[in-house]
């Protein structure tokens, strides 16, 4: 009995395999049905619903969502100076963090790609990867303790007459630069690895000083990789609400979204459109700068 059933099953499997044999379109369809169903219908669909929800409103008396189209939320975002200020603060911090990370990341990536030995390179790559993957929340929390009034920074800086910046916008900038630094190092490293050493030798043989070689050969070739890294530093800063919550009292876009999600989902949805729109604009600029070959 059992073996008969097994035979039956196997022949069913065979028949299915026969059906797919040589039919490439059918194979592609079967392979893509699941992933596309999940990502297009599920995920893109959710984003579309989010877009629509942004044009709904909440009944002030009952607190229920009214599913009639209105520009109320968008108008609120545009006209209330509080929101404008929060958006500007978030975008400004994202830009600052991106510039800071680019400045710190470039020498490290350059050393990894063009100076370190093979072994040194391997050690550095894993040395950058591990902290990148270790818990985001724990890293923010670690900074919260480091920055506290009797924390490590106070202890280390006090003897030289400085002190911890304490909690606030400076702390947010510092912690976010810290969090996203590996996301900047790795693409720049990959971009620099792609520059052939012969190109650098040629520049040197033609009499360029190291500085000129760097400025005229390496930097222009590596710039798209920097832009590629900046996509992540920028995007991650725009969406973060845990860091501002833990090391400052300042509101960022993410905080306002989080605070509104329970009571005013349409307003939260409208707010969530802000990072989406800013990111689309950023990605369009990044594409013009050639960053996509490096992502």
């Amino acid at each position: 009995m059992a073996s008969e059933a097994a035979l039956e099953r196997r022949s069913a499997g065979h028949r299915l395999a026969d059906l797919f044999h040589g039919r490439r379109r059918l194979q592609v369809g079967a392979l893509l049905a699941g992933p596309l169903g999940w990502l297009v219908i599920g995920y893109i669909g959710s984003l579309a619903v989010l877009l629509i929800t942004a044009f709904w409103s909440v009944d002030p008396l009952s607190g229920l969502v009214v599913k009639n189209l209105t520009f109320e939320n968008i108008e609120t975002l545009w006209s209330e100076s509080v929101y404008r200020e929060i958006v500007w603060r978030t975008v400004r911090t994202a830009l600052l963090v991106t510039l800071t990370d680019a400045a710190i990341a470039f020498p490290i990536a350059f050393y990894m790609a063009k100076v370190a030995s093979r072994r040194g390179k391997a050690v550095l790559v894993i040395g950058i990867l591990l902290p990148l993957w270790s818990s985001y929340l724990v890293k923010v929390y670690a900074w919260r303790t480091l920055l506290s009034a009797d924390g490590v920074l106070h202890w280390a800086l006090n003897p030289i007459g400085l002190d911890t910046p304490g909690y606030g916008i400076t702390a947010v900038w510092l912690v976010m630069s810290y969090l996203w630094l590996p996301y900047m190092i790795l693409p720049i490293y990959a971009g620099l690895e792609r520059i052939p050493d012969s190109l650098i030798s040629a520049s040197e043989d033609l009499g360029a000083s190291p500085f000129t070689t760097f400025r005229r050969v390496i930097l222009p070739l590596a710039f798209p990789a920097v832009v590629a890294g900046s996509i992540f530093t920028f995007s991650l800063t725009l969406g973060d609400y845990i860091t501002p919550r833990l090391v400052s009292n300042d509101q960022f876009i993410g905080n306002v979204i989080f605070n509104n999600i329970a009571n005013n989902q349409p307003l939260a949805a409208a707010l969530a459109l802000v990072p989406i729109v800013v990111m689309i604009a950023y990605l369009l600029v990044a594409r013009r700068l050639g960053a996509f070959e490096h992502v």
């Binding site: 797919f20 050393y111 591990l130 270790s134 670690a142 996301y183 190291p210 991650l236």
Partner: protein, 280 residues
């Protein structure tokens, strides 16, 4: 590159400072976990293992740990299936819109986590009318985990010549047999690496989780977050934090050893083969 001694020295200093910047906070939090005092003053007055035992004895933390493991395993399983299916389609077939698949897979992690979180919770509560629960967390996590499996699998498939599969077919194996005995063994270590990374990504995720988790449920990061503001719980939080760091780092180290290309950045690489280190 030919650099002067001074330039080299300067670069070394920059690398050392950068690495110190990256590692000091992690080292500090590990040291704090062994701090004998209840108060988080630096330097600690003495050392103890007590907080680890109080972390293991904490029922809420244990439950949260189990919830995180459940969510991580389920999300990883879904990501493994969807990610390898998509990778087989992209690496082994030509079809209209093939280039957009990589973009589509990358999108959930390229957009800020808060957008993914709000979108998914909004769809479940407003459109489907379902309450938030562990299931919604799993859906959210699986969505952004697909990319790590996909990138590892695509990179591996591009390196594996498809002529083995053609040979298998020529020798009379049908589609399923070829997949089972030729393609899958070739992909195996890349899939394990991708799965490990997906688990690590899910295990310590908090932003999407915070938006999609049901009332009364906690993952370990959520437990940490809700105890951060209770001073008398902080020593236990420190011990749990160290455990979380280990659980997220060990799979990544293993994946790196396994894969070669598996290294990949946290959220992408777009299937870059040679310099897999590339890009979140």
């Amino acid at each position: 590159m030919r650099l002067s001694r001074n330039a080299r020295a300067l670069l070394r200093i920059a690398v050392a400072v950068g690495l110190a910047f990256i590692y000091v906070p992690l080292v500090a939090i590990v040291l704090y976990a062994f701090n004998a005092s209840r108060i988080l003053a630096w330097p600690p007055p003495g050392w103890t293992l007590h907080w680890f035992s109080s972390a293991f004895d904490n029922a809420a933390a244990r439950d949260a740990f189990l919830t995180s493991v459940k969510a991580g395993l389920a999300a990883t399983a879904i990501a493994l299936v969807l990610g390898s299916l998509a990778s087989l389609a992209v690496a082994r077939h030509r079809f209209f819109g093939r280039e957009t698949i990589s973009f589509l897979v990358l999108l959930p992690i390229a957009l800020p986590g808060i957008v993914t979180g709000v979108a998914i919770s909004n769809t479940f509560t407003q459109v489907l009318g379902l309450p938030l629960s562990l299931l919604t967390v799993i859906v959210g996590h699986a969505t952004f985990c697909i990319v790590v499996v996909y990138n590892n699998a695509v990179a591996r498939l591009r390196r594996l010549s498809s002529s083995f599969e053609e040979a298998s077919a020529d020798l009379g194996a049908h589609t399923w047999q070829t997949f089972r005995y030729v393609t899958l063994p070739g992909m195996r270590s890349a899939l394990i690496a991708g799965g490990l990374l997906a688990f690590a990504l899910s295990f310590d995720e908090i932003i999407v989780t915070n938006f999609t988790i049901g009332a009364g449920e906690e993952t370990l990061p959520i437990w940490i977050f809700s105890n951060l503001f209770r001073p008398h719980e902080l020593p236990t939080v420190n011990a749990v934090a160290v455990i979380v760091i280990l659980i997220s780092i060990i799979p990544v180290y293993l994946a790196h050893r396994l894969g070669g290309e598996a290294a990949a950045g946290r959220s992408g690489g777009g299937g870059v083969e040679t310099e897999a280190a590339a890009v979140p």
